[in-house]
């Protein structure tokens, strides 16, 4: 049994009276590719934002490699609105900013691509290396860190080669076609040297051919970089091909989990979501 990398425990996220994520529990084990699927507005991206520290959850906690990284309990206004279970199980607030979570080894991409628009592909990747620099402001300014700088540049070039982006190294990142921009975003996330890669709808807006390429690609980078991958996706082909396990979210609640075959045959999932496109 491999150890789990990510564990989400009783996570609830409320915005006012709206419960976007309701008492969610999930686990991602080392080396797995796990998908989180669900209809639009099911709260998938909110779940991502809770895991990566963009939002502090109203209740619940997130474990990363055996450490509790996010924890919160309902208080103040939330206590009144709170309808979730496990009230009182958590009594601490741990809400690190996203950068600290990324530093621990968790990197993400965005649903609507967020590349740094005035930077080239290479610079986009290089900037993501910034969090691993050990040089301080002074040594960086006066180029006393050239050994580190050189190593980082070489690592980035290597990464671009692996990602098959070396041809567009010096292009403006946002001038690339959509599929390549997605790949730059993944490269950028990989540059932070993560153990867990979170992909928010990596195939959104891609044509079938690009999607197929991406499917092969995600498997390849998992093996190459010894990663664990957790992704949100709409493209069922991709999810079913690639995933070791799948979680299904509907109206903020997890309604099913299991292997792709189990999910495909689960009546609740078919009712909620797959029923429409089952013949595909």
């Amino acid at each position: 049994m491999s150890k789990n990398v990510l564990k989400v425990e009783n996570a609830t996220m409320q915005f006012g009276g709206v419960v976007a994520v309701d008492n969610m529990n999930l686990e991602v084990n080392e080396g797995e590719i796990v998908s989180l699927i669900g209809p639009n507005g099911a709260g998938k991206t909110t779940a991502f934002n809770v895991i990566t520290g963009v939002y502090a959850p109203s209740n619940g906690c997130v474990w990363f490699e055996g450490d509790k990284i996010v924890e919160n309990y309902p208080h103040g206004k939330m206590q009144k609105l709170y309808k979730g279970q496990n009230n009182g199980k958590y009594s601490h607030i741990t809400a690190p900013t996203p950068d600290r979570i990324t530093k621990l080894g968790m990197a993400r991409t965005f649903q609507n691509i967020r590349l740094w628009k005035s930077q080239t592909v290479f610079e986009n990747v290089l900037i993501a290396k910034h969090l691993r620099t050990t040089s301080n402001l002074f040594s960086a300014t006066f180029r006393l860190n050239h050994a580190e700088e050189k190593r980082q540049r070489e690592e980035c070039d290597e990464l671009l080669r692996v990602m098959e982006l070396d041809g567009v190294r010096d292009e403006l990142a946002t001038s690339l076609p959509y599929g390549q921009q997605r790949r730059v975003e993944i490269a950028r996330a990989l540059a932070t040297q993560p153990k867990l890669l979170l992909l928010d709808e990596p195939a959104a807006g891609m044509n079938p051919q690009e999607t197929d390429e991406l499917t092969a690609f995600i498997g390849k980078i998992r093996d190459n970089f010894k990663l664990t991958v957790f992704l949100i996706e709409h493209h069922m082909d991709l999810v079913m091909d690639i995933s070791d396990r799948i979680y299904v979210l509907d109206f903020g609640k997890l309604i099913a989990s299991g292997t792709p075959e189990e999910i495909q045959n689960n009546q609740r999932v078919i009712d909620a979501y797959l029923g429409v496109s089952n013949d595909a």
Binding site: T45, N49, V54, F110
Partner: protein
């Protein structure tokens, strides 16, 4: 009481004047999300216009004329400096506002030769009267009432009329309002008309208490009025008015306690405290960015 009263009176009076100016800021910010840095200078221009107008005309002609000319200037500033930049980043529009303020100040300097102009004594409202044992000018008493009446009128206008509804729509979501057929250009023009008109009224009341007008004199009350708008929650008219009164009264007491050097600093200190504690101000609504 008798020691406090004069400060309280002058505080309420100055506060009312700040309130009138800050409405212009808060309305423009509410719709265009722009700090109209030129507003303080428009206020000064109104003061200067009054100097020239009152020299040749009786008050009942000069006062409306000044208000009308100030309104024209306000709308012109919008058309020249802000309208072409409607789709530009917010920073460019703000820079344009700063440039406009620079232009207005330099033009006023050129026209006046940089000399301080003596502000005319307006009949009746400059008269001295006695309130609770302290002598003050009549403007001190008129200001708060006039402010409140104008604000009630304005709030009614926004709540009841069609253009008011359009303004509320534009301030909630400028682009959607445009798509829904709201004539945003005329809404913006109307905002500037109201803002500049109130600034002109505010300037008449404000300068009555001071002997002279110089080209740069409006910058500071302008900024303070903006602070008042932020304090009350930017975009909210009652908020701006309450903010104006609070700042005016506090400032008056600080001056009374012979800390005059810090009366300006206090206003900005208040701004920083309110932004730190409640960035949306007293009555502002919060906006969150979606990730």
């Amino acid at each position: 009481m008798s020691r406090i009263l004069p400060y309280l009176l002058s505080g309420i009076s100055v506060g009312g004047q700040y309130a009138l100016i800050s409405i212009g800021y808060t309305m423009v910010y509410g719709i265009l999300r722009l700090i109209n840095f030129a507003h303080g200078d428009i206020f000064t221009v109104a003061g200067l216009l009054m100097v020239y107008a009152a020299a040749t005309m009786p008050l009942y002609i000069s006062a409306p004329l000044v208000i009308i000319l100030t309104i024209i200037l306000g709308v012109l500033v919008e058309k020249v400096a802000y309208k072409p930049l409607r789709t530009a980043p917010r920073m460019s529009v703000m820079i344009s506002a700063i440039g406009m303020s620079y232009l207005l100040q330099n033009t006023m300097w050129y026209l006046t030769g940089g000399l301080a102009k003596k502000y005319p004594t307006l009949p009746w409202i400059s008269d001295k009267i006695n309130v609770g044992g302290t002598t003050t000018s009549r403007v001190t008493l008129i200001t708060p009432f006039l402010t409140v009446i104008l604000v009630i009128f304005l709030v009614m206008l926004i709540k009841k009329t069609k253009i008011g509804m359009a303004m509320r729509a534009a301030s909630r979501d400028f682009e959607t309002a445009q798509l829904m057929g709201v004539k945003v250009d005329s809404v913006v023009s109307f905002t500037f008309i109201v803002g500049s008109g109130l600034a002109a009224v505010g300037s008449m009341l404000y300068f009555t208490n001071y002997a002279t007008v110089t080209p740069v004199v409006g910058a500071m009350p302008g900024l303070k009025a903006f602070v008042a708008a932020v304090f009350g929650g930017i975009g909210s008219i009652p908020g701006a008015v309450i903010g104006g009164f609070i700042i005016g009264i506090c400032e008056s007491f600080i001056k009374g306690a012979s800390w005059t050097t810090f009366s300006d600093a206090f206003t900005f200190g208040l701004l920083i405290v309110i932004l730190g504690v409640k960035p949306t101000g007293l009555f502002g609504e919060s906006l969150t960015e979606k990730v």
